[in-house]
Amino acid sequence: MKKFEAYLAGLVVVITALTLCGWQFDIELLKRPLPRMIAMNPMTAVSLLALALSVLCLVNAEGRKGFLLATRSFALFSIVIGVTRLMAFTGIHDFGIDVLLFKQAIDAEAARNILNTMAANTAFSFIVFGIVIFISATENGRLKMIGNYFLVVVFIIGLMAIISHLYGVRERNGILWYLTMAPQTGFCFVLLALAVLFNNRDFGFMYNLSSPNAGGKMSRFLIPSAIFIPVLIGFIRVYVHLKTPTSEELGISLLITSIIITLLILITYVSWHLNETDVARTIAEEQLKHTIEELQTTEERLQLANEGTAAGIWDWMDVNSSDRWWSPQYFKMLGYENNEIKPTSQILAEQIHPEDADRAAHILLENTSKSRRFEMEVRYKTKNGQYKWFQVTGQGRLDKNGKLRRLAGSMIDIDEKKRALDVIKNQAMLIQMVPDGIVFSTKDRIFYDLNAGAEKMLDLKREEVVGKLSDNYISINLPRNVKFREAEKELWKNGFWRGEVEITNLITGKKVYVLTSLKTIENMIGDVPGFMAIFTDLSPLRINEELKIALAKLERNNEYLEQLAYISAHDIKAPIITLQGLTEMLRQQVPGTQGYNDMLDMLKSTVHHMQLTNNSLNHILKLQRNLQSRRELQDEVFSFKTMLDEVRSLLQHNIDMAKASVEFEVKGFEKVKFHYVHLKSIVYNLLNNAIKYRDEAKPLAIKITAVRINEKSLSLEIQDNGLGMDLDQNRGKLFGIFKRFHDHVEGSGVGLHIIKSIVDAYGGSVSVKSKLGEGTTFSIVFESIIVE
């Protein structure tokens, strides 16, 4: 448009320049292109040239001071010319400004009654136009708006001049004398007015005319029509009248009718055009409405999705602003009502857990600058002050320059999941920490996992055995009465099995004795069933058990030794005291007397008793030592019968003296593996007792019976028909040291004690049945004797 305005002004420059040439070189065609046309006054041409240049400067100024100065200078020139000329009209003073140039030519034409002075309306137009240009050079929109109306006035003055000439108006009398503007001048004013109006199109009514809307379009179509069509019809009327003169009334009637028809056509066209536009607009509006409705539906759907989903949506629309947008779900997840707080960067900084802030910032920086999707797990403080875990995902959008513009994404609550994971982690740690061995295995006994306890206990390396068949690494020995298949069946039937087993590492040979608890797991890996085994090492308990047994044995030994020491002390002390007394007495006796000899006998008897006691004690101590340090290696295989025969031969003299009958019976076996001396000692003592405590009133009959019970035990019975004992009174001390039940024969009181000691040491039992005057039966069961 700027160019268009410049062309208009440029056309004026050309016209005025040609006019001035016409004056200079007296060329009629340039002065007045048509005959009888009023010529443009040379000063008018100069002023118009100044105005045209002024407009050119204005149009191209664009705020530049030099151009604006030139604009104002040219405008001022035209105002001065206009004012000077008007002063002449008003009779104040005629400076003869309009005849300053080419006075001769003007005067010559005036002589021919051709008017060439500057018209009053021209001068007025110069003043008005100059002022409007001044206004247009400012930035004041309101003044420009008013200026546009003045330009319309100038435009109409110019148009009037053109039309007057066109219609051949000749009147020069009265007021019209003043208004004899040349049509070229009028044309120039019209052009310049249009140029400035276009330049000021953003102000006042021009804004309306230049609008791209329907009104603007319509006016741009109608205004030229409103000007040119009446002018054209008027011209036709005048021309027709010249050719065929008609009455004034008919001419006007035809003219007005033509104008009415033209206007009707125009209005019809415009209304049709408007209607068309309106229909199109209505359709467009309908479509728009539909589109809006669709949009609303989409938004509602989105909102529903927002509300329905567990994820909260967040949007940081402009990363240079601190404002954010959160979806209702986002608020809800943090414990707020929708829009309860205004989401900003500051709020976010307050909500994030201090421990997570740096990490989150780092992740954001790292990813968003490259528009990568990011994901992080952070804790945000909820409304009630508690922190919860959230998973935040998002992605940045970059602007044209590659700078981050917008960030948006979603957030889901992973607090429970996270806590559950923590629990799992803790449990996994616990499994690793417990001293018990824990093994996870598939149903097919393939190692799935094992803890440190199991690695240590079973001597296995986790990374080596996981995924491998456990049968290749360990063998499980179940308790003697449990079958592997049965245990397995029980496990899968009840889901549980517990028992003590021995596990052997097949590679290192390490053995452990463990309490095993098995629990089935239905879906251990996916839908593969498996089981968990917990091993508690019983080896320490076993050692403990053994220690306890050893300790008890030691305690028993101690007790025994204490008792032995007490008994020894007593049985040695007593005769010593007696010896002391006797020797004291002996001193007071006269040797050779009866009393002296009696005392000597007593001394001898006491010493003999002491010797017996001493022998017995030695015997017992030796036996005890022997029993305690006994080795299975000392056992030997021998014929039971032969052993019995040897005992009988040892006591043959006593048997003969007592005239006793001794009968042996060995049932179901022949040989035994045992400590020969110890077994012989038992039989010897029992047989000896039976002979010693015989009932003189009847012939002594002794029967020794040995019966095999099984491969590891036998019973030995010695039955006599001797004195018998009162067991009701003495059962408790039957096997005590130096306990004797008869004092009519000499005895050491250690025989039964020896028997009991031996049987106890080997594992077995001694029992006795006896009745005074009827006899005694000793029964011994050996439990760890090899019977062949």
Partner: protein
């Protein structure tokens, strides 16, 4: 002072009994002194004798029936029970043995062998 009729020594060691008898006689006990070699024989002695002994000197460790068993049996001897004053005369110095003996009211003393003058004086004093 009550006249002491008879003393019974119960001990399986004849030399010990011999020494005890000498000591008693030396310190003014002139009555008859009998001896039994174990508890069982002492019980039988009490049942047979017409007169119960005023004093019994009892050993603990004896075959067949020991001193403690004798004390239990003595309680059931209707004829002589509580008519004799029992004194333990033993080589055992164990408190356990002493307590076990002295829990019987009729046991008047616990002497460690050998029998001494002080023991005899104590026996005599108990008779008053």
């Amino acid at each position: 002072m009550m006249k002491l009729n008879k003393v019974l020594l119960v001990d399986d060691s004849q030399p010990s009994n011999f020494l005890s008898k000498l000591t008693l006689q030396k310190h003014g006990i002139n009555c008859s002194i009998d001896e039994c070699l174990n508890g069982k024989k002492a019980v039988e002695y009490l049942r047979k004798s017409e007169e119960c002994p005023g004093v019994i000197l009892l050993d603990i460790n004896m075959p067949v029936m020991d001193g403690f068993e004798f004390l239990e049996n003595y309680k059931n001897e209707a004829k002589c029970f509580d008519k004799s004053k029992v004194f333990m005369l033993t080589s055992s110095a164990r408190d356990e043995d002493k307590n076990k003996s002295m829990k019987h009211d009729f046991v008047k003393g616990y002497f460690a062998k050998p029998l001494t003058e002080e023991h005899v004086e104590e026996i005599l004093a108990s008779l008053q």
